[in-house]
C-alpha cells in the first residue's frame, strides 16, 4: 500500500523534475535529475518495505501488543480495558488494495497502537474483537 504510494509519487516527481530541468537547461540535466529522483524513490521503497516488514501485532488474553520500527524499535502493550475506541480508516490508495488501518485510542496520547495495511476482513474482525474485549474489560480512569 505504502509502496504503491511511494512508487506513484516518485514516478510523478521524476517526471516533474525531468520536465523542469529540461525546460531550464536542456535534455541532459533533465534526464539526470529524473534518474536521481527515481533512485531516491527505489531507496525509500526499500525503507518502506523494511518498515512494514517489521510491523507485527499479537492479541493476548488481556492486552494487545504492537511492535514496529527498524531504526527506532517500538513495542506497545495496550490493555483492552484501557481502550477508549477503535478507529478503522482506509485512504484512497489503501482502498484500491482492499486494505485498512486499525488504530487503538487510549486516554494517553502517547500510546500509539496503530496497525496499518490489514486486509479489510481482518481489520473488521480485529475491530469487532477489540470492541468486544474493550467493553467486557473496561476500566474507569
Amino acid at each position: 500500500m505504502r509502496r504503491a504510494e511511494v512508487a506513484v509519487l516518485s514516478v510523478l516527481l521524476a517526471a516533474m523534475f525531468g520536465l523542469i530541468f529540461w525546460a531550464a537547461g536542456g535534455a541532459l540535466p533533465g534526464v539526470i535529475s529524473a534518474v536521481v529522483v527515481l533512485a531516491l524513490g527505489v531507496l525509500s521503497a526499500w525503507f518502506v518495505r523494511r518498515r512494514f516488514g517489521a510491523w507485527r501485532y499479537q492479541e493476548r488474553n488481556e492486552d494487545l501488543i504492537v511492535a514496529r520500527g527498524v531504526m527506532v524499535q517500538r513495542l506497545s502493550v495496550v490493555p483492552y480495558g484501557r481502550m477508549q475506541f477503535v478507529e478503522v480508516t482506509a485512504g484512497p490508495i489503501e482502498r484500491l488494495f482492499q486494505l485498512s488501518t486499525v488504530k487503538l485510542h487510549t486516554a494517553a496520547a502517547a500510546s500509539d497502537a496503530r496497525i496499518p495495511g490489514l486486509e479489510r476482513d481482518e481489520a473488521a474482525r480485529l475491530r469487532d474483537r477489540l470492541t468486544e474485549l474493550g467493553e467486557s474489560m473496561a476500566a474507569g480512569m
Binding site: Q73, L75, T106, G140, M141
Partner: protein
C-alpha cells in the same frame, strides 16, 4: 462555608437567579481590555490632536452593563432531582443538565471586582465524556460555598463533607519564599539581564538601545506578564486536606479555590530547578483527569496539570505526596554506566524503580524531575529503542498515563532488564487495575446501602478501608497489611 448540605438544596422546581450584582461584577472582566484600549487611544490621540477622548469608554462600559443585565435576566438554575439544570442565553439558548453523580470538582473563583462586591463564581467540572462544564457567575459567597458542598456531597459521606471545612492545612507558601522563587526563575533572570544590558547600552549608543528596546518590547512585556501571573496566581497559596481531595486556595487579585480529587490523580511530578536546588526547594505538580472536552481528533480524556505546591521544601513535598499516593518509595536504581554515552547531560540524574503499586523515575538535565505514577492508572506500557541505544544494548520503557505529556520513563535501561520490566509492569498494572475494578461500587455515603467490604479509602490515605453497616470504619489496609486509622480527618 457554613450550613449543612441537606438544607441548602432548594425544593425541586424552584428557579433561582444569579446574584443581582452580577452585571456589575461582569464588567470587571472587561477592565484589562478597557485599560489597554484607553492607553492605546490616549497615546494615539495625543499624537493626533492633543485631546483625550473617553466617550467611547463610557459607551463601551454601559453597553456591556446592558448586556450583562440581559444575561442576568435570562440566566436561571434549579435542582431537578439529582440534576442541576442551568439555563442561559438570550439569542442562543443554552440549557445544561449536570448530574450530581458525575460532578468531578467544583472551583470557586473570585476576581477582584467580584471580591469587592462579595460574590463569587462557581465552576463545575464533570467526569466522563460530553464536555459539559457548568458555570454559575456570580453567586453570593455563602451561597457558592453551600452549593459546592451540595454538589460534592454525593461523592463522600455527609459526615466527612461537613467536617471538610475544618480540614488540616497540608502546605502553604509564604510571600517571601514565593517572591524569592519567582525571582530565581529563568524568565526573571533573562528579563533583568536584558533590561540591564539595555540600560548600559543606552549610555553609549542611545539610538541602538532605543531600536533594540522597541524590538524586544513585546517579548519583555509578555515575560513580565508571565512573572506577574506566577506571582498573583500563587500568592497566599494554601493546601487544605478535605474529604474529597486536597483543597487549594490561592490568588492575589483573583482568588481561586479548587479541589484536587484523590482518586483522579494520574501522576505526581516533583521538579527541582537548578537555581532552587541550593535552597532545597521544589515544586510539586499533579496531573488530574478532569472534564472530558472531546476535541476534533476525538482524544478522550483531558488532563489538567495543577500546581500542588508552587514552591516548598522537600519535607513539604514529601508530606503532600504521602497523603496523595501513600508515600510510595520504591528502590530506585541507576542505568548502566554506558548510558552516559547516550545521555551525557542527564545521566547523573537518571534513575527509576517500581514497587507493586507505583513507578517512580528521575529525569532532567538542568531541572531534576521526579515522577510518580500509580500503576493502576497506566494506559499502556511501551518499550522504545533507538539506533544508538541498540548499539549500546539499552532500551527505554515508558509507562503512559492519560494526558499528552504525562508518563514515567525508565530511561536507558539494560535491554534485558527492559524486556523484563515490560512484562513485570504489564502484570502489575493489570493486578492494580483489577483491585481498582473490584472496588468500583464505591459506597456513596448518603445511600449507605453498599454491602460491607473493602473499598478504596475515600480520604486516599490508605489503599483500602472497610465499609460496614452504612459507614466507614477505622480499619484500613495497605498492600494487604491491616492497621487502624480514624475515618474522618481533622478535629
Amino acid at each position: 462555608m457554613t450550613g449543612a448540605p441537606g438544607e441548602s438544596a432548594p425544593p425541586e422546581g424552584e428557579w433561582l437567579r444569579l446574584h443581582p450584582l452580577t452585571p456589575i461584577a461582569r464588567i470587571g472582566r472587561l477592565v484589562p481590555a478597557l485599560v489597554l484600549l484607553f492607553l492605546v487611544s490616549t497615546v494615539h490621540s495625543k499624537a493626533e490632536n492633543g485631546r483625550v477622548e473617553t466617550d467611547y469608554l463610557i459607551a463601551f462600559t454601559l453597553l456591556s452593563a446592558v448586556y450583562g443585565y440581559i444575561h442576568w435576566m435570562v440566566t436561571r438554575w434549579r435542582f431537578e432531582g439529582d440534576t442541576l439544570r442551568i439555563e442561559t442565553g438570550f439569542i442562543r439558548k443554552d440549557s445544561r443538565r449536570l448530574p450530581l453523580a458525575r460532578v468531578q470538582a467544583v472551583d470557586i473563583v473570585r476576581p477582584l471586582l467580584a471580591r469587592l462586591l462579595g460574590v463569587s463564581e462557581l465552576r463545575i467540572r464533570l467526569a466522563g465524556s460530553g464536555g459539559t462544564d457548568g458555570k454559575l457567575a456570580y453567586l453570593s459567597e455563602a451561597q457558592a460555598a453551600e452549593l459546592r458542598l451540595v454538589l460534592l456531597a454525593g461523592h463522600i459521606d455527609s459526615e466527612a463533607a461537613t467536617s471538610s471545612n475544618t480540614g488540616l492545612p497540608m502546605a502553604s507558601v509564604d510571600t517571601a519564599r514565593l517572591l524569592a522563587s519567582v525571582f530565581l526563575s529563568l524568565v526573571t533572570i533573562v528579563v533583568i539581564c536584558t533590561v540591564a544590558t539595555l540600560a548600559v547600552l543606552d549610555q553609549f549608543e542611545p539610538k541602538t538601545a532605543a531600536a533594540v528596546a522597541g524590538f524586544l518590547a513585546v517579548y519583555l512585556l509578555s515575560a513580565a506578564g508571565v512573572i506577574w501571573r506566577r506571582l498573583s496566581g500563587q500568592y497566599n497559596f494554601i493546601a487544605v486536606e478535605a474529604a474529597e481531595g486536597v483543597r487549594i486556595r490561592r490568588g492575589l487579585l483573583q482568588t481561586i479555590s479548587e479541589t484536587v480529587p484523590y482518586g483522579r490523580i494520574q501522576a505526581v511530578r516533583q521538579v527541582e530547578p537548578l537555581l532552587w536546588r541550593p535552597f532545597g526547594w521544589c515544586r510539586l505538580e499533579v496531573d488530574v483527569a478532569g472534564a472530558t472536552a472531546r476535541n476534533q481528533r476525538g482524544e478522550g480524556t483531558s488532563v489538567v496539570r495543577k500546581a500542588l505546591l508552587p514552591v516548598g521544601s522537600q519535607q513539604d513535598a514529601w508530606h503532600l505526596l504521602a497523603r496523595l499516593l501513600g508515600a510510595p518509595d520504591p528502590v530506585r536504581t541507576a542505568p548502566p554506566g554506558r548510558a552516559r554515552l547516550k545521555a551525557p547531560l542527564s545521566f547523573h540524574f537518571l534513575s527509576a524503580g517500581h514497587d507493586g503499586a507505583h513507578a517512580v523515575c528521575v529525569t532532567g538535565r538542568l531541572n531534576r524531575a521526579t515522577t510518580w505514577v500509580p500503576l493502576e492508572k497506566s494506559q499502556s506500557i511501551r518499550r522504545v529503542q533507538g539506533p544508538l541505544q541498540r548499539t549500546l544494548g539499552l532500551a527505554t520503557v515508558h509507562v503512559d498515563v492519560a494526558g499528552k505529556r504525562s508518563r514515567a520513563e525508565f530511561r536507558d535501561r539494560e535491554a534485558a532488564e527492559a524486556d523484563q520490566l515490560v512484562a513485570e509492569l504489564t502484570a502489575l498494572s493489570r493486578s492494580a487495575r483489577q483491585r481498582g475494578r473490584r472496588a468500583t461500587p464505591v459506597p456513596s455515603g448518603a445511600g449507605g446501602d453498599a454491602p460491607s467490604g473493602w473499598y478504596p479509602d475515600p480520604a486516599g490515605r490508605h489503599e483500602q478501608r472497610y465499609w460496614h453497616d452504612g459507614r466507614w470504619t477505622e480499619h484500613v489496609a495497605d498492600g494487604g497489611r491491616r492497621s487502624a486509622d480514624a475515618p474522618t480527618p481533622g478535629p
